[in-house]
Amino acid sequence: MNSLSPDYPKASPLRTSCGRLSVIGVVVFVLLLTSKLLFFGSLYIPNFDKVENTEYYDLMDAHGYKDGWRREERVLFCVPLRDASPHLPMFFNHMRNLTYPHHLIDLAFLVSDSSDNTMGDLKQHINDIQNDPDVSVRFGEIEIFEKDFGQSIGQGFSDRHGFAAQGPRRKLMARARNWLWTVAIKPYHSWVYWRDADVETVPGEILEDLMHHDKDVIVPNVWRPLPDWLGNQQPYDLNSWQESDGGLQLANTLDEDAVIVEGYVEYSTWRPHLAYLRDPYGDIEVEMPLDGIGGVSILCRASVFRAGSHFPAFSFEKHAETEAFGKLSKRMGFSVYGLPHYVIWHIYEPSSDDLKHMEWMAQEEAKQKEEEKLRGIYDKIWNEGFEDVQDSWKADKINIMKNTDMSGHRKIVVDWSGVDEEEYFKKSVPIKNVVDGNGEPIIAGADAVSGDKAAADDETQLTEKDILANFDPTKE
């Protein structure tokens, strides 16, 4: 504030610069005053800068605004992994493409009960991305947790998705999810995002796309592509639904520990599913309130978890894991929504029926190839073993036939109509009529002929060819 000295020079060449300096002084003063005023009336903030291992956080700083990426809000990105090695390259490609500022994203992985090299591959991928020359690709804090829960259930598609396995399996997965977030979440996290590793197609803006809806819990629609013979595409995640009267009634009939799972005929709940409400041309911003949600891709405010919502590893209102998470969060007063027309794509994993069918298809193809090969051989033998005498016969037949008296020969016409139809192969459809040139029937009803189809076929064909083409009496 020296510049604001009272003996301010009034008519010197220095006047302008001094004026500027004084103005700077005033502005600085105003700035200081305003910032002081801003803090006035707000809460006391302790200062632990010089105190060892002591931290203070105002949880309000981690509120979770709808434009969190502009407010330096940190996102905890949770990924449960089990035998996921084959999916990791695809997953980390998606990670690189995320548009949410990477330094604001903290990654938390839980590797459990893996028999492949998930852990080694995971570390490899993370090291690659954290040492990327482009600093903006690197993520914030990365924590890898290891915990085995001793799964007795296999990891094949049908093992996992069979009806009987669902209850205990869902409870176990719920435990795994809880172990992940309870150790990973920090006071400075504003949002928590859950993502399965086996998602095939997902926009890089997924976090912003979900966040800007300003909901406590929100999920996209999850579909999966299918091979042509299964119809190209199919809803994948049936765990996102709205509660129905049917569902509530069913829940009432079940015992305390039962777990209702969607998409199985054993439990028909008549609930509206997010997946089936998709319109490929619909507005991606459309929201739909949900009660149960699926776990492929969930964005939640961190305050939902801080308040105590979690993935029940017991039967909560007859549900477990992510579906119960939806119910529990709703019960605690949080908003739970889904986006019916905003779709991400899960990978296609064939079920055991699909696998059988694919095996059958592969066998059929092999069989066809074998047959083709055989036919090739036969054709070759035929061509080499037999001589084509059609042309020489054309020349010879005139000489051979010219002395034959054909006047007494009857012309035979066969009515083939109706024979080509399908029934012909199922039951013996009689050849309607065989008449001679004068319209006199040779064979009526043709039961006699159809006694041996093939034989009759050859016979009549021969007759027809010979007589119609070569023995036209009018030519003579």
Binding site: N53, Y57, L59, A62, P187, A313, M332
Partner: protein, 374 residues
């Protein structure tokens, strides 16, 4: 200030442009320094290319301090690896240096509480503390006292320092009044305990770390306990173990005496279940009110002066006074329901949830800790 300002004001009055010109320059400079990206978006560098606007929304008078603690915590390569299979909660916790997290929601700071906490004999280098305070003037008051107390310990001799201390400010609004009378009014009970449950959950889940083996819930108004409280509760090796909360007072004859204080440690009764069955979904059963006579056996009444302190009893509901929990129970998802869970809320709902997850809940009727007397 008036002496200083007056020549300047005169100057401004005489030649306003001399003021306006530099002022504008300064504003532009300030914009440029504080948020360079704002400027770039004004001049249209990164406009319309992306779906969303990524211009930071930091305060005009300085950047936010949000990530201050975060950055100081980072390991060198940003990657840490924890094997949770090796995490154990054993009765020999002190010997094994198993990490314990002592959690206290605080709305009033009692010196006696702090003194008692410092008397606990568990090794400090395996002991973490966590506090959560409401957004009220009362919370401010408590925070100032807590700050002072913590600074003394954490800047004192190295061996006396705690492994880690986390202090949180609640993000939901706490109830203003915490007077003894209002606090126990049945009508405010549900709202109060809902609030308390959320505070407990927020504190628990943000401070629970990958190396925590045990969690001790110690209310900020527990002012007296045996110094071996932690080891004693751990030695029973139970998933959830609650001490009996009593209160010292002067009886009618002016003699010092003790009386039961916390009635939330109980065993379920037929009558309690019957009452719950006939309740609406959002109603709760609470102990200690004539309106709801549950006839539940309360642990507070099972205290026997001459009994063995190690006597255990199985419980269905617990209070929050002094409860030892194996961290795995919380990691499995057992939390303090802020809504009626089987018509139970907060700590009592927690006991129910732990049981739903397959854990057993116990109490020590003859092991006393003492509550502050207002």
């Amino acid at each position: 200030m008036a002496i200083v300002r007056s020549p300047l004001l005169r100057q401004i009055r005489r030649k306003p442009l001399h003021f306006l010109g530099p002022f504008t320059v300064i504003i532009v400079l300030a914009l440029f320094i504080l948020s360079p990206s704002t400027l770039s978006s004004i001049s249209g560098f990164n406009s319309t290319k992306t779906k969303y606007n990524y211009t930071p929304k930091t305060g005009f008078f300085g950047s936010s301090s949000k990530n201050k603690n975060f950055q100081s915590n980072l390991p060198g390569n940003h990657i840490s690896h924890y094997d949770l299979n090796k995490l154990k909660s054993t009765p020999r916790a002190a010997y094994n240096k198993e990490r314990i997290l002592v959690l206290s929601p605080i709305s009033r700071f009692y010196n006696e509480y702090w003194a008692n906490l410092l008397k606990l004999t568990y090794p400090r280098d395996a002991m973490e503390l966590g506090f959560i305070l409401p957004r009220t003037a009362e919370g401010d008051e408590a925070l100032k006292k807590l700050e002072k107390a913590i600074k003394i310990v954490q800047t004192g001799p190295k061996d006396d320092r705690f492994a880690k201390i986390t202090i949180l400010r609640q993000d939901n609004d706490g109830l203003e009044s915490q007077l003894e009378k209002d606090r126990h009014e049945l009508s405010v009970q549900k709202e109060r305990r809902k609030n308390m449950a959320i505070a407990r959950n927020s504190l628990l889940f943000t401070s629970l770390s990958p190396y925590t083996s045990w969690v001790l819930w110690l209310d900020a108004d527990i002012i007296e306990s045996p110094p071996t409280l932690i080891q004693d509760l751990i030695s029973h090796d139970k998933p959830v173990m609650s001490a009996n909360v009593y209160q010292r007072y002067k009886n009618d004859k002016g003699q010092p005496d003790i009386r039961p204080y916390d009635f939330n440690n109980w065993v379920e009764s037929e009558e309690g279940l019957r009452i719950a069955e006939n309740m609406a979904d959002d109603e709760i059963v609470v102990e200690g009110y004539a309106e709801i006579a549950t006839y539940r056996p309360l642990m507070a009444h099972f205290y026997d002066k001459n009994g063995d302190v190690n006597t255990e009893m199985q419980l269905d509901g617990v209070g929050g006074g002094a409860v030892m929990v194996k961290a795995d129970v919380h990691r499995d998802g057992a939390m303090f329901p802020p809504f009626p869970f089987y018509h139970l809320i907060e700590t009592e709902g927690f006991a129910k949830m732990a049981k739903r997850l397959g854990y057993e809940v116990f109490g020590l009727p003859n092991y006393l800790v003492y509550h502050y007397n207002e």
